[in-house]
């Protein structure tokens, strides 16, 4: 059944012999949205994504990706998704152009291979064998092969690892363009600025559970992004949270009648909020384990 959801997951559980990788994840991704999945290594991100891609099978739960269960996804279904997996190590003797043109032949209505090569910025490397590409260039080739089929849903697993800042900005433009064209994107990343820049919504996974889903600016709940004003008072470092930092600074200025020592006005970044969330989750996990023992 086709719905307005590109992905709908309820109660996803995946166990490995030595641990529970995913412990009951719910997830909804709307059509046309960029959803960023965040979480520390080993939190269950890649396992979740690989189940949605059809590489692994869930032990429990209802999973619907573009109207199908990925475990039973056929060729027709695979033609509608695009995958940029985490690692890519192939050292082929084939050139960028040869590979992109060849992969286009797998799909019913592919994008124009030359346009895709240009979009990922590999025009000058068209005739270069993949073996000779740099890490960042190879990653861009991965993206080219992931989008060549003109997918409705694109999986991007840590796509910009190893990129220099300029390449990352170019990549972001590429993703924004895909989004404008209506592609739904599931992105996993370690870079919080990337999630903030690209995602309509973010979900944070820790210890196999989804601990929060929100827009980047509301993650962590009310107050998480409230400004912090800190200064060095006579009895040590002071910090207050306030919605009116300017008023606070004016008050301090009047109080000190000049320079306020070590004055800082800071708005927590998404990264600060995220780290706090992850920190709470691991403390809660530790307490739970302690209680069980």
């Amino acid at each position: 059944m086709e719905t307005d959801k590109a992905v709908r997951v309820r109660g996803l559980v995946k166990r490995y012999p030595d641990k529970v990788a995913v412990a009951g994840v719910d997830l909804d991704i709307n059509r046309g949205e960029v959803f960023a999945l965040l979480g520390p290594n080993g939190a269950g991100k890649t396992t979740t994504v690989e189940i949605l891609e059809g590489y692994r099978h869930a032990d429990e739960g209802q999973i619907d990706v573009l109207g199908s269960d990925p475990a039973r996804g056929d060729r027709q279904w695979r033609a509608r998704i695009g995958i940029v997996a985490q690692s890519s190590r192939d050292e082929a003797e084939l050139t960028v152009a040869e590979l992109v043109h060849h992969f286009a032949g797998y799909y019913p209505s592919p994008r124009d291979p030359e346009e895709v090569i240009a979009a990922v910025g590999l025009e000058e490397k068209r005739k270069t064998r993949t073996r000779k590409l740099s890490g960042g260039q190879r990653r861009r080739l991965d993206v080219a092969l992931g989008v060549i089929g003109n997918p409705e849903l694109l999986f991007l697993d840590e796509p910009t690892t190893g990129f220099d800042p300029e390449a990352r900005r170019q990549f972001w433009t590429l993703i924004r363009n895909l989004r404008t064209e209506g592609t739904t994107i599931l992105l996993t990343t370690h870079y919080l600025d990337e999630a903030e820049e690209l995602a309509d919504r973010v979900g944070v996974i820790a210890d196999g559970k989804m601990i929060e889903v929100a827009t980047p600016d509301t993650l962590g709940g009310r107050g998480a992004r409230t400004a912090r004003v800190s200064w060095l008072a006579a009895d040590g470092l002071q910090e207050i949270r306030t919605d009116t930092p300017t008023a606070e600074v004016t008050r301090l200025l009047a109080q000190y009648g000049g320079e306020v020592p070590e004055l800082q006005v800071r708005r927590p970044s998404l990264e600060d909020v995220y780290l706090e969330l992850i920190g709470k989750a691991s403390v809660a996990g530790a307490e739970l384990e302690g209680a069980v023992r």
Binding site: E2, Q76, R78, A79, R89, D90, E93, Y106, Y107
Partner: protein
Amino acid sequence: MSTLHVLPSTFKVGLSRTKLEVKEFFREREQLIFTFFFPIVFLAIFSAVFGGTTFGGGVTAATYFTPGMIASGIFLSSFQSLSISIAIERDQDVLKRLRGTPMSPQSYFAGKIGLVLTTSIMQFALLLLVAGLLLDVTIPTEPEKWLRFVWIFILGTASGSVLGIAFSVVPKSGKAASAVVTPVVLLLQFMSGVYFVYSDLPGWMQSIASVFPLKWLAQGMRSVFLPDDFRFTEPGGTWQLGTGAIVLSLWLVVGLVIAQRVFRWTRRDAG
């Protein structure tokens, strides 16, 4: 369901995969040397080393070793080539990437079969050219011998291919692939009478070799390229073509079953 697009046919994608596979094969130095040119170089070396030796009936060393090298070439181009290349493709996540596309598995295997056929036919043609023109090897002209050659060639490449696909899961990494596959092939070549006169080998070695396909492939090729009288130098005094056909077919079936069971698109550690 949104608009239903027609997927490219399995055949068309298989053809395109064949082209890609062949292109890549001829760009890989290691495959080119150790799979493609290996038997040709060895034939040249052997005919130089044993230049003075005749094998009776006016058969030169070059003529005597040509069928062995042809058999060995077929085995290298199918078994060795596929087991190494697929092991590397699996380790480097090439297979995983393909699995995430609408390419059908049949197209992938069609590409591999296309690769084996293309390279082994080219290798055989080159081997024949070198043997006939440079080493003065007598090439048979009887149609029935060439008919025999065709079925032995087909059974040999087919069984070598499925066994290669199955064996590709044995190396634990892409780096280890050559190191694991090459000694197995080398050992089989030594025991199967590719580098020696088979009937001169110790009996126990002959017994071991006759379990495996290469011995039968080599014997079959000797029946094509050596004078008929040479059948008396074979164990039992015949070419044993019937037994050879049965053993090769058995390996084909066994290989097919094993390959289907063990083939995987992802690495072992990928869970």
